[in-house]
Each structure stands twice: as C-alpha cells, then as structure tokens.
C-alpha cells in the first residue's frame, strides 16, 4: 500500500467518534467572527453596530491587493459590536459580534437538499467557478486556511496536472472528514470535479488512509459509477500523511523541493476533502462558507461527537453538548493532538479551520519530564522531511541561527513527529519553532536589504 517515503510515526488512532453521525449543533446566543480566519491579511469589517444581518450576509470584505478573503455571518440577528477577540491561535484579532435572533437565511442560498451535478450546469467555466469560490470565502478546511481561489490560480509558469484531495485525516482523534465522506459522498465528489475543472486538470485523486475502509469503499464505488476521472487511493495509516508534501509523495511519488517551491511546481494542487464539500456548496448552492463539521472528542468526555457547527459558536458550547469538561485540570486543544493548539480560553469561536476540539485530562494533559538526549536517532528516523531534529533543537537552543539555516530548518513542517517519538521527552519542537521563526525573519531581512 502506498505511503510517503521518509520518516513518519504511528500514534494511537483513538478515533472515538468515528461511528457518530453528524449532529447539528445548537445556535449560539452570541456569535463571534474573527476577521482573520485565513492565511494572509484579515478581512475588513463591512457592518456596523446595530446592523441587521441574515445567515450568509457578508460581514467582512477581503483586503484589496492582498492575500485575503471574505467572512460571512452564520446567524441572523443584530451586530452587537465590532471589537477584538482572542481566537484559537491565541492572538487578538478584529472581530464582529452578532446577537442571534431567529434563523433567517439570505434568499440567494439554495437550501433544497437536491444534488446538482456538474453536467447540469454547463455555464460553469473555470473562471466562473473560481469567482464563486472566491466570493463565498472558501479556504482550506484542513487547518492551514489558505484561500482556495488563490491555490486554483497558480503562477503561469506552473502547469497543474492533478488535483489531489486530502482525505487522510492523519491526526489522531479527529473524525470530521471521515463522517463528511460517509454522509456527503456525492456532494464531495461533485466538489472534486469542480476543483478539477477550475484547475483545468483531467485527473483527480482522493487519498484516504486505510483506517477508514468504509469511506474508501463508498467513494471507490461512487467514483467507478459516476466519476471515472477521480481515483480513490488507499494509503497506509501513517502520520503526517496529511502534510501537503507527504501526501503528494504518497499519491503520485513526487517530492516537492525545499521552500520556497510550491506543490504546484511538481504539478499537484492539494485540497482538503472539507474544502471540496465547501466548494460544492459555494458553487452549486450559492452558499458561502459559514458552517463546518467539528469533531469534539477526548477519552474523558462523556459523548464524543461530530457537529455541523455554525462559525462563531464558542467552543465551550460544543463541549457542554458533549457532557462538559471532566473534573480536575484539563487541556483543551483546538485541532488534533499532534498539531493542534492548547486553548487558554474556552470561549474562542469555531472558525473556518476548526476541525476539532480535543479534551485531554489528568496524566494525558501533561508532558513527561525531559531527560538527557541519548542520541538514539529516533527523531532522525521519524522526521518526514529528512532533517535532524536533535541537531536543530540543540543549535536553536544555543542561538546558532546560521547553522540551523544551513541544516534546513525552514523545511520543518512542525508536525511534531520528533517530539512524539523522543524517549527522553525532549521539547525539541519548541526549540525548533524558535529557530525557524528567527531564521525566516533573518531571510526576509536579507531579502529586504538586497532590494534596497
């Protein structure tokens, strides 16, 4: 079975909520919409205090001449204030607060539950599809939140050959993508066709890890019947297969060179399976991106679940819906256990990139005590980028910035495999992040100086 070629680890999968059907989460009383939910410049609020909005009303406009995208209201009601909020990343961001009143949708949204096929809409030429995706505020739903329309328009020197759909969901615990594939398979596949048409490619792959055999079977059957140019590729379960570069290597056997090279430089456009669904809704149903599937899970949680959640819903509400936090101290993570961020505040809103809320309590919440490095090389064997984490961490700790730059620290994808595997519990990734940030700053400074 296919997989990526360098490194990787296999954490306990703990897909506790894999059999839980998607439930619709309750509407919040107040919904909060950070304006920076994507990579790039935050959107600019285009509503004021007292304005009435509906579900699907634009409340943030993309910043012009910048990498940016729109934000839409997920609720109907009145704008309470335009202020700031601390989001899941821990940073303060401009935000729109809306008091929820009823559930009135914009008329332009097609709410009928009828599947629309690409063949039904011949007017959808690539430019139209991309424009619709852009206007619906669709971003990568896997967590990185890169605006989707930008990815579909690569620089002219690159020629995309395939669209590869990231449906591996390699993070332990998370099951949002898995449930989406089982419950919205047809919509996802039409979404993939839309992405392929927009990128002007004739071949699509869907990479799914073998720990989701039901999804592999269902999508393979549907592809064989209705979507002959899409191929489901079962992959060996291994973390971090959902990393863009690892996925390309696993599916088509090409390796993207070191930064600043892009996936499209080897001919691949990667989109998350959640993004494919969002693209379907945006293009076929005129529905902007304002809700998503969120896994709320944890071993100590009473009812791990998958929720269809409106953006802006506070995470605390979802946790309560699953039985509340367990007693004692707990770690609440936005995202999965390998790359998610521990929250300092449970009122942070669900955003476009919120794939999960994970609760770990007791022993699980704490790191082990670090011991001396015994040079076992397990981090070197685990690194999916072929780096030497022990060396990068040690040299970063000693502020040897030129050395870590030469050792390729900017290639680090911060997947955490090194720290996961370290028998001595060394906080390697903490140090590597410091080194990587510093080196990136140094590189930018050099580029600025060179321009002058």
């Amino acid at each position: 079975m296919k997989t990526f070629r360098i490194g990787g680890v296999h954490p306990a999968e703990n897909k506790l909520s894999a059999a839980e059907s998607i439930k619709v989460a309750e509407l919040p009383k107040v919904a909060v919409f950070p304006m920076g939910q994507h990579i790039g410049a935050p959107a600019l609020p285009c509503v004021q205090k007292g304005d009435k909005v509906k579900v699907g009303t634009q409340i943030g406009k993309p910043m012009e001449k910048a990498l940016s995208t729109s934000i839409f209201s997920s609720v109907s009601g009145t704008v309470l204030k335009v202020d700031t909020v601390v989001d899941a990343s821990g940073y303060k961001k401009p935000a729109v607060y809306i008091a929820v009143e009823g559930d009135e949708w914009e008329e332009s949204i097609d709410r009928r539950d009828k599947l629309v096929m690409l063949a039904d809409k011949p007017e959808l030429i690539p430019e139209v599809i991309i424009e619709k995706i852009k206007n619906a505020g669709v971003v990568g739903m896997g967590g990185a939140c890169f605006p989707t329309h930008v990815k579909l328009m690569p620089p002219p020197q690159f020629k995309p050959e395939w669209v590869i759909i990231n449906a591996v969901e390699c993070e332990p615990y998370l099951t949002a993508d898995h449930r989406l594939m089982l419950e919205k398979a047809d919509e996802v596949l039409v979404g993939v066709e839309l992405l392929m048409k927009a990128a002007k490619v004739s071949k699509g792959f869907i990479g799914i890890e073998e720990n989701k055999p039901d999804a592999i079977k269902l999508l393979s059957e549907k592809c064989a019947a209705q979507h002959p140019n899409i191929e489901v590729v079962p992959l060996k379960t291994k973390y971090p297969q959902g990393g863009e570069k690892q996925l390309i290597d696993a599916v088509v056997g090409r390796q993207v060179p070191a930064p600043p090279a892009l996936p499209v430089s080897v001919g691949a456009i990667i989109q998350n399976v959640g993004t494919a669904f969002a693209v379907y809704e945006a293009v076929m149903k005129n529905k902007p991106l304002f809700e998503r599937i969120v896994t709320v899970t944890g071993k100590q949680l009473k009812h791990p679940s998958n929720f269809l959640t409106r953006m802006g819903t506070p995470m605390s509400q979802l946790i309560e819906a699953c039985g509340g936090l367990p007693d004692g101290e707990a770690k609440v993570i936005g995202g999965g256990p390998m790359m998610g961020k521990a929250l300092v505040n449970l009122e942070v809103p669900i955003c476009k990139g919120s794939s999960g809320v994970l609760i770990m309590s007791g022993e699980d919440a704490r790191r082990g005590e670090p011991q001396p490095c015994i040079r076992c090389a397990k981090c070197v064997n685990a690194c999916p980028m072929g780096l030497e984490p022990y060396l990068l961490a040690t040299c970063s700790g000693k502020k040897m910035w030129d050395k870590v730059e030469a050792e390729g620290i900017t290639s680090c994808i911060e997947c955490g495999s090194c720290q996961f595997t370290c028998p001595s519990n060394r906080p390697m990734l903490d140090l590597i992040r410091v080194g990587k940030t510093t080196v990136m700053t140094n590189i930018r400074a050099r580029q600025m100086a060179a321009k002058k």
Partner: protein, 339 residues
C-alpha cells in the same frame, strides 16, 4: 473557572517510549547470553556479572551524589546496569573480583561521568573499561576458562586458549611448524554446534552465538535498534575474511568461524549499537559499521591481540562526530521521482 486549563505547545501526545524502556529491553536481550554463559562456565558467570553491575551502579550513584552533587538520581535510567552487564560480558568468568571493580570505576567514573553522564560520553563505557583492563591486567583478562566444568566453578576454573587464539597461531606460523599443526588440531576439535551453543572458551557473554542472535531479534522486534549497524559489520567481516580465506586458506580462518568467534557478535549487536556512541543517520551508521568490520578483520589478522572487535569499535567511536557531520539523512525533495 472550575477547571484549570493546561497549556503547552504541540504535539500533545507522546509515543510512551522512554530511556528506561530502551535500556531495560537491551538488558532483557542480554539475558539469554547470560544464561548460556552460566551453563558453560558455571556460577562464576553469574558472580562476575553481579559484581560488575553492582559496582557500576554504586559508582554512578556515588559520583552523581557526592562529586557532581546532582539532586536527581540517575541510576534508575538503567544505563549503569547495562554498562555493568556489558562490562561483565567482556571478561572471563573466573576473573578476580577486584579487577572487575577497577574496570567498573574506569568505565563509569572516567569514561561516562567525567564527560557529563548519560548521553555525553564519547566512548562506549563498557568497552573502554574492557580495553583499560586488557592493557592493565593482560594475564587476568586473557586467561579464559574452558567450558563444561560443572556449575560450581568460579576462580578455580581450569583455563585454556580460545578458538580465536588458535586462529591467530595459524596465521602467525608457517604450515610446517609444530605450533601450526597443534592449532589445526585444536581447531578441528571445535564443532559448529559448540560455537552456536557457547561450548567454547572465551569471555563470559560472547560465546553463545544462538543466544546473541536471539538478543538481536529481541532488539529489532522491540525497535530498540535498526539493522544497519549490526548487519553492516557482519557483512563486512564476512566478505573481507572470506576474501582472505579464498586467497590463503592455510593462514586464514573460515569466514563463518570468524563471525562466530570472539566478541564479534556481542560487539556488533550490543556494543557498536550503543545509542550514545554511534552515528545518527542511516548512511552514517552504515559507514560506521563497515569501518568497524574492516578494522576488526585487520586487527584480528595483523594486530598484537587475537581480538579486534573492542578496539575497532572504540576507534570508530572517536570518528562518530565526524561521521555525523559528513553523513546526513537524505532530505525531502532530494529523493528521485518514483516510477
């Protein structure tokens, strides 16, 4: 707020692997060889091992507490126990107890703790201890008991030459000499099954091939080590000594006998693979293994000692920082296109 939130950076899960687990698995992998040694050499094997382990642990504890004044106890990590075991495995079972204690002091006190303890030493402590003893007490260290004298023997064991010593005699003397004839005669008495099950003279832990291979299987199965170092050493020794054997079968031993005699397997499986003193990248490990194999054959054939493994590993230990600098893992993006 009712709950206290714990905050740290990702990753938030851990494999559950630990230094202790790795060290104890190596110790467990050494147990079959220890049992075989007991069968071959009697209770002396157990006594020697016990003295060695106890003195290594005591020295580490005392140095850590009284000289380094480190409040954290380091003996629980299992590395001192492992050093003690390996040191004992590299000695004859009938050696004087005080020599063992001197060796343990050198291994732990000089080679390990002066460099900063676990993870910081340049040389393998057990091997450096052995080399120190071999140079300081050559008679005690090279007077090996013959196997099969009953379970009660210790210091009173009868001694004799090892297969490796006879091989050296074969190499050093012309075929028409009396010594050569005697060596051929002695070697012909040793059957393959004797080498497989440890029924030959030698250091305590090195004689039983089957038990050492079982240890290798345990280490590989538990993913404590990878195949790269042991296999590269064994293949190099086999190929090189095979070539020498083909060129001159009268002077050189059969390559299979080379593999199964002396400390080659013990060194390749348990000593050269020591985490701290071996290279980090796979390519580096292969280079290291090939170099150890090469040096071992050279020393065995042309050196002053019959045994070359421990010196070969120690010499290559010194090159590990250079190997780490020169041989890097293959980075992502440098691997050619599949198909």
């Amino acid at each position: 707020m009712a709950n206290k939130l714990v905050v740290s950076l990702s990753p938030h899960v851990h494999s559950g692997d630990s230094v202790q687990k790795n060290m104890y698995w190596v110790c467990i992998a050494l147990v079959p060889a220890l049992l075989c040694s007991f069968i071959s050499f009697g209770v002396g094997a157990i006594i020697t091992t016990a003295i060695s382990v106890a003195s290594c642990v005591c020295f580490e504890w005392a140095i850590n507490k009284f000289m380094l004044k480190n409040p954290k106890c380091t003996i629980c990590d299992g590395s001192a126990i492992l050093t003690g075991l390996l040191l004992a495995f590299n000695m004859p079972s009938n050696i004087q107890p005080w020599i063992i204690i001197v060796g343990a002091l050198f291994a732990i006190g000089v080679v390990k703790m002066t460099f900063g303890g676990l993870g910081c030493n340049l040389f393998n402590p057990a091997l450096a201890g052995r080399a120190f003893l071999l140079i300081s007490f050559p008679v005690g260290m090279t007077t090996w008991p013959t196997p099969g004298q009953g379970f009660g023997v210790y210091l009173d064991a009868e001694t004799g030459a090892t297969p490796l010593a006879w091989m050296k005699v074969m190499f050093k003397n012309a075929p028409d000499t009396e010594l050569y004839q005697k060596a051929v005669q002695e070697l012909s008495k040793i059957k393959w099954e004797d080498m497989i099950f440890g029924n030959t003279g030698g250091c305590l832990g090195e004689v039983c091939t089957a038990a050492l291979i079982l240890g290798l299987a345990i280490l590989l199965a538990k993913k404590v080590i990878t195949w790269h170092i042991p296999v590269s050493i064994l293949v190099t020794v086999f190929v090189l000594s095979g070539l020498m054997y083909i060129a001159n079968p009268q002077s050189y031993a059969n390559p299979l006998a080379e593999l199964m005699s002396g400390g080659l397997l013990l060194g390749a499986i348990f000593m050269a693979t020591d985490y701290v003193t071996s290279p980090m990248s796979k390519n580096g490990q292969l280079v290291y293994g090939v170099a150890i194999g090469f040096l071992t054959v050279i020393i065995r054939a042309y050196g002053a000692y019959p045994e070359g493994m421990s010196f070969a590993i120690l010499i290559m230990n010194a090159f590990v920082p250079l190997i780490n600098n020169k041989f890097k893992p293959k980075r992502f993006g440098e691997v050619p296109v599949k198909k």
